[in-house]
């Protein structure tokens, strides 16, 4: 009898749980976040379809093989899964850098330079100063912050457009780092008996404490380390800073309207410099996470790292929301690893085309959202409207104005 009673209580509890859950799910549908996610999914599906059409045009025979590689390459082996996580970490950081600047009304196209300077600082700390990994990451953050603050200072004090300064300092940063590495023989692999005189020495050979901890999983893959957790942690921190603190609110207010925030007593100049410094620090940490993994070495080169620029699509796809950026970085890293698996049948660049179509379609997100509203949620709205007409409050809130979002998204220049 006792058992039967127990089951009965369990059953009611479960039933109660689901009964309570249902309105939550129904409410979820009307929430703006859900709407944005659905619009993003639409964009992703159409982007992948465009990729498929492109592959059908180039090599119809292999197109579906290419598609399956694109979609499953990231999961096809344990080592690929870890490689996705390894690729995600710096992408997430540069994405956060760009997204954070977007939120505060600035377009930080200089993440590439800040990433390079940060990477250099981390490697310098590891090889020359023989510092452990957490100090190296801090050094990278400082380096990136300094490099990011320069466009901020130019913007705040001299009113020079931050886009231009960022682009200029991308190149200056790259060449400066090249120059310093080439003139610091102790950083080069040749000093330690290596052959390549344009590369830094492998940090694991010089200072094992600088390598990011692998949490005992290095047996599974050399790519496994704490980098991804650091990136996710920082994304959550940025989320809290932006949406739960006065400081974040002030930064965002400057982004929405510089003049009125000045009127409200916010020091706009200070905030511009601070935003750019924080953004730069995030990108710099991205550089540290790439090279402290111990799987690659820095090269003296005249080409800019693509990871810095890829922060822009990551931020756009994640609508500049730190939590959204976690997922968009994971997605873009995943599809990039899938792109590597597509070779040699297709060039990896097919992935870039898919990504660009997805980004482009996010310009349509407003149109998509209206379509979703109209067809998926249409009935709900009609009911709300009827409730409103009848004077009863009904069970739901009135439909959120979709139009309001344009203003917000258009906040940055």
């Amino acid at each position: 009898m006792k058992i039967k009673a127990f089951f009965a209580t369990c059953l009611t509890a479960v039933k109660k749980f689901f009964v309570n859950l249902w309105p939550n799910i129904k409410n979820l549908k009307t929430k703006r976040g859900f709407n944005s996610i659905l619009a993003s999914l639409f964009s992703i599906i159409i982007g992948i379809l465009v990729g498929l059409v492109l592959m059908l045009i180039i090599k119809p025979k292999d197109a579906f093989y290419g598609l399956s590689m694109m979609l499953s390459g990231g999961l096809s082996s344990v080592s690929n899964i870890f490689q996705v996580l390894y690729t995600t970490a710096p992408l997430m950081m540069t994405g956060l850098a760009v997204g954070f600047a977007f939120k505060t009304g600035l377009f930080n196209i200089g993440a590439a330079g800040q990433y390079t300077v940060g990477a250099f600082c981390a490697i310098f700390g590891a090889i020359i100063l023989k510092m452990p990994w957490y100090v190296d990451i801090l050094l990278a953050a400082v380096g990136g912050a300094i490099w990011g603050s320069i466009p901020g200072i130019f913007k705040a004090l001299r009113n020079v457009n931050e886009v231009i300064t960022s682009i200029m300092f991308n190149w200056i940063g790259l060449f400066l780092v090249d120059l310093i590495i080439a003139n610091t023989p102790k950083m080069l692999s040749t000093y330690y008996g290596g052959a390549d005189q344009s590369r830094t020495v492998d940090i694991t050979a010089v200072n094992l404490s600088a390598k990011l901890p692998s949490l005992g999983m290095e047996r599974l893959s050399p790519y496994m380390n704490v980098g991804i957790f650091i990136a996710i942690f920082l994304a959550i921190v940025m989320y809290i800073v932006l949406s739960k603190t006065t400081f974040g609110y002030e930064l965002k207010a400057c982004g929405y309207n510089k003049e009125s925030s000045k009127y409200a007593g916010i020091n706009a100049k200070r905030n511009i410099i601070l935003s750019m410094s924080i953004s730069g620090a995030l990108a710099g940490i991205g550089g540290a996470l790439t090279y402290l993994a111990g799987t690659s070495t820095m090269q003296v080169t005249k080409t800019m790292s693509p990871i810095g620029f890829n922060g822009i699509p990551v931020a756009l796809l994640g609508t500049s929301n730190p939590i959204g950026i976690i997922f968009s970085a994971l997605f873009i890293a995943y599809i990039q690893i899938g792109g590597n698996a597509m070779q040699p049948e297709f060039a990896t660049e097919v992935i870039d085309i898919v990504i660009s179509v997805i980004i482009y379609l996010s310009a349509f997100s407003l149109v998509f959202k209206q379509l979703i509203d109209k067809y998926l949620l249409g009935r709900k709205h009609k009911k709300d409207a009827r409730d409103l007409l009848n004077g009863s409050s009904g069970n739901g809130t009135p439909p959120e104005p979709v139009e309001a979002e344009v203003v917000k998204e258009g906040g940055h220049k």
Binding site: V163, I172, Y360, S362, K413
Partner: protein, 324 residues
């Protein structure tokens, strides 16, 4: 003297793409749309013209009148550049989306598309499209004097076209009804609309002119770089944007800014052969110092002149007729 001839010739070669693209950017911004996709449009322009050169190579037309073929390539680059920029115009004018979104998308797509198409045409791994030997306007003799070096060493049809475009741009912007209307749409679109100017149409036109010029700039860069088309324009699209701001959104100042930048750029490429420049012999890879100089000089001048800088008031803001 010969070194200075080479220096001037290299300066002109690199200034031409910068001038073309920066003037294009000006058309777009004067109409109120920030065209951040210039880099991508340049790549598409370079790709199209290079492919046209490749297909015409060896044909009877290329043998009899090579410069006509070059002209066909340039026109092709302009047309396709304008079409490519239409996507940016559509997203930022019709859909009123943030202008960085469309621009970023086009910038990512262009090099990828260029590589995919190059591979599809030439076979896998063949990433460079080489420029045929009939493309230059003239060739300098080995014992060329100063003037021959300046005007013959790297002379392409794009240079005279660039001169024509500079003049045409100045006339269009300042002396025509269209120019006045275009500028008004970048300054105060609501006022322009109220006197019967179609703001959307003006902005579409502005962006697509910038696309056409960036397309020509793309092939001009490919020719200046010398080694053929390799799916990249090395950041020149972004540089052109900087040159435009540097030139304060005015055609003649833009030309001067581009020439200044190209001068320092050429200087960095030839620092070894110019006798009086410091050679930093105790520093390894010292030519990176010279590579940095153009960017640093631009930054200093920008910082000094920025107070006088005057951007079009309504640039970057989508125009919404209903909010007038």
């Amino acid at each position: 003297m010969n070194v200075f001839g080479d220096l001037l010739s290299s300066m002109i070669a690199f200034a031409v793409p910068l001038i073309l693209v920066a003037l294009g950017a000006m058309f777009s911004e004067r109409s109120g749309t920030i065209n951040i996709a210039l880099e991508g449009i340049m790549i598409i322009g370079g790709l199209v013209a290079s492919l046209i050169f490749k297909f015409l190579n060896g044909s009877a037309l290329a043998a009899s009148s090579p410069q006509l073929c070059v002209l066909i390539g340039i026109v092709g680059a302009a047309v396709v550049g304008a079409i490519y920029s239409f996507f940016l115009a559509f997203a930022s004018i019709r859909l009123k989306a943030d202008q960085t979104i469309g621009g970023t998308a086009l910038n990512i797509m262009a090099p990828a598309l260029a590589i995919v198409i190059t591979w599809a045409v030439q076979g896998q791994g063949q990433t460079a499209i080489y420029t045929p030997s009939w493309v230059p306007l003239a060739t300098a003799p080995i014992d060329a004097n100063f003037f021959e070096r300046v005007f013959l060493k790297s002379s392409y049809l794009t240079t005279p076209i660039c001169v024509l475009i500079i003049i045409a741009t100045w006339v269009i912007i300042y002396k025509t009804k269209f120019g006045l209307r275009l500028r008004s749409c970048g300054e105060n679109p609501a006022a322009a609309d109220s006197v019967g100017i179609n703001v959307y149409k003006m902005r579409y036109t502005g962006v697509m002119i910038s696309g056409a010029l960036a397309g020509i700039g793309g092939i001009a860069f490919t020719l200046a770089a010398g080694s053929g088309f390799a799916s990249t324009v090395a950041g020149y699209g972004f540089l052109a944007l900087a040159v435009m701001i540097f030139g304060n959104w005015q055609p003649l100042k833009i030309v001067l800014a581009a020439l200044l930048f190209a001068f320092f750029k050429s200087l960095s490429g030839m620092s070894d052969s110019i006798p009086f420049l410091p050679s930093f012999s105790n520093i390894k890879e010292s030519y990176y110092i010279y590579l940095m100089i153009p960017y640093i000089v631009t930054m200093i001048i920008l910082a000094l002149t920025s107070k006088k800088s005057r951007a079009p008031k309504a640039e970057g803001i989508p125009y919404d007729k209903s909010s007038r």
